[in-house]
Amino acid sequence: MTWLLRRVAQLVVVVLVVTFFAAILTSLLPGDPVKTIAPFATPQDRARISEELGLDKNVISRYVDWAGNFFTGDMGTTYAGAGLQGDSISARVRESLPTSLTIVFYVQFLTLLIALPLGVFSAYRQGSLFDRGGNGMAFALVALPTFVLAALLKFWLGLKLDWFPTQGYTKIGDGIGNHFKSVAMPVMTLMVGQIAIYSRLLRSDMISTLQEDYILMAKAKGIPSRRILWRHALRPSSLTLLTVAGLNIGALVSGALIVERIFKIDGIGGLIYTAVGQRQYIAIQSYVAVIAILYVVINFLVDMLYSVLDPRIRNV
């Protein structure tokens, strides 16, 4: 229980540090933000905008104000202009986040579904044609940057073959078929590299596990290979994979940023990008906070899963 409390405390600290870091970074954005927001405002207007944005205060008190709001569920509004009511940031997040999360979920789910058996089997048949072929292919696929792969898919499957729509996102409520069609290429793009990484990672851990004495011991007990692979070897081999999967969230968000840009999908990536361009301080901070929370929560879950998979961790 103290362990759980400690993890939650850790979670809060990380979110605070990350968002504070974001606050400092955004305040470093050069150029007068007021000028960017309202290029033709009078000096009086500017002063008012400054005040409304809290720009007359220092970074720290601005951060404290923001954090107070954020943790009570109010992410604030975007700044639309002097005296105008901006859009609710929370509403934007509610609109965009599910789209990004849906894509990321599909990617992770399908990746594991494919990568697990692939990794296990190529470790078992180490050095076989299947293994070496898989190795070579994984190598090539990892070297294919997301944006190149996305462009290729869009060009080939979208423009040439016209199988999938080249842009936009259809919600699952607006037709399942269209939904899947709209996410097919983004998901494929992000999946390919992940499958390659995950299956190779699992393969190499599996290979070293298979050389352990306890695998020999299981063999000496007369346990069939299939059972040795899945019941004895997989669990201790999957720990690195799990860690990497947790750490991968950052990379996935980066990937989502690119995929959303190329396939013109309104996700959280697009929101952040627009916010950076428009110097929407509060919005940037809130988006970063959302991502940080996601990252920390997912890593928290990964840690829980870790301790389920490896009893040695539980007692430490």
Partner: protein, 306 residues
């Protein structure tokens, strides 16, 4: 002293031939990778001396948008009549310079911080590694995007020069790579620092700096080198990502990423314009990844042979 048995036994040390065999044993793939990267470096260095068309300004005498293997344009040209070959070669020098600068910067800082964190350990080590972890929580592309726009805003009326912009991109990406390199170096330094030879050096009276430099660092270098090679590959990729958001070097200056990005909303029009740089990116990234693996494997074998 006559009791000491003479060391006559056949020692398992590699002979001259065997050592050469390990060098030869790189494999065809690795040599191809070295060859490709050699070509790239050559192109990058000699870009301004080669007899190429103007990569920035198209000529009105050309037919715009011709495809591969048109006379005078082996890779065709774009809708502004600019030769793709010329642009991709100049792009090579941009992309590789950014990659080399940022990883050089990242390795230097990240390596140093990681080495100290790994060797000194304790609270300092824990604090430093917690910091890396937090930095890693940021999506790298997002961080790079933010840093570039911080360091060199696009909104200024007169755009920064190509060189300045390149330095900014390299610095931003280098900053992003620091936590990754530091983390790997720290992990390696930590495990080597627990070896008994480090304690032996301490018991000889060596100062911490000497131990870090002479005992720990040489053992960590192969891992750092391997990560740096992989890092070069990922910088090439990140540059492309930045370009997609208009935050790599400013068009019309070419980089590999810029060339792909400029066409991304119009893939069908002149596909060769984005496919050619894509192939360059792909082959370079694959070569770097391969060499990174080779370095790591060689290192692992040496370790295992002990």
């Amino acid at each position: 002293m006559s009791e000491v048995a003479p060391m006559t036994e056949a020692s398992p040390e590699p002979t001259q031939e065997e050592e050469e065999a390990t060098k030869r044993g790189l494999g065809i793939a690795a040599w191809l990778a070295i060859g490709w990267l050699g070509c790239m470096v050559f192109l990058a260095v000699s870009a301004s001396f080669l007899p190429l068309d103007d990569p920035i300004n198209g000529s009105i005498r050309e037919t715009p948008g011709v495809s591969y293997f048109t006379e005078g344009h082996i890779f065709g040209n774009d809708l502004l009549g600019r030769d793709t070959l010329a642009r991709v070669v100049v792009g090579t020098s941009t992309s590789l310079s950014i990659a080399a600068l940022s990883i050089g910067f990242g390795t230097l800082i990240g390596g140093f911080v990681g080495l100290v964190a790994g060797y000194v350990g304790g609270r300092i080590g824990t604090a430093l590694s917690a910091m890396f972890d937090i930095l890693l929580a940021f999506p790298p592309l997002l961080l790079a995007l933010t840093l570039v726009s911080v360091l060199s805003p696009v909104t200024e009326t007169d755009p920064p020069s190509r060189i300045k912009r390149m330095l900014v991109v390299a610095l931003a990406v280098g900053l992003v790579s620091i936590p990754i390199l530091a983390r790997i170096t720290r992990a390696n330094a930590l495990s080597w620092s627990q070896r008994e030879f480090v304690m032996a050096a301490k018991s000889q009276g060596a100062k911490p700096f000497r131990i870090m430099l002479r005992e720990v660092l040489p053992n960590v270098v192969p891992a750092m080198l391997s990560v740096a090679l992989l890092g070069l590959a990922s910088v090439i990729i990140v540059e492309g990502g930045l370009a997609l958001f208009g935050l790599s070097i400013n068009p019309p200056d070419p980089s590999w990423g810029n060339m792909v990005a400029s066409q991304v909303d119009d893939l069908g029009e002149t596909p060769h314009v984005w496919i050619v740089p894509s192939v360059f990116i792909f082959l370079s990234v694959m070569s770097l990844n391969l060499l990174g693996d080779v370095v790591r494997d060689k290192f692992a074998v040496r370790e295992a042979a002990i």
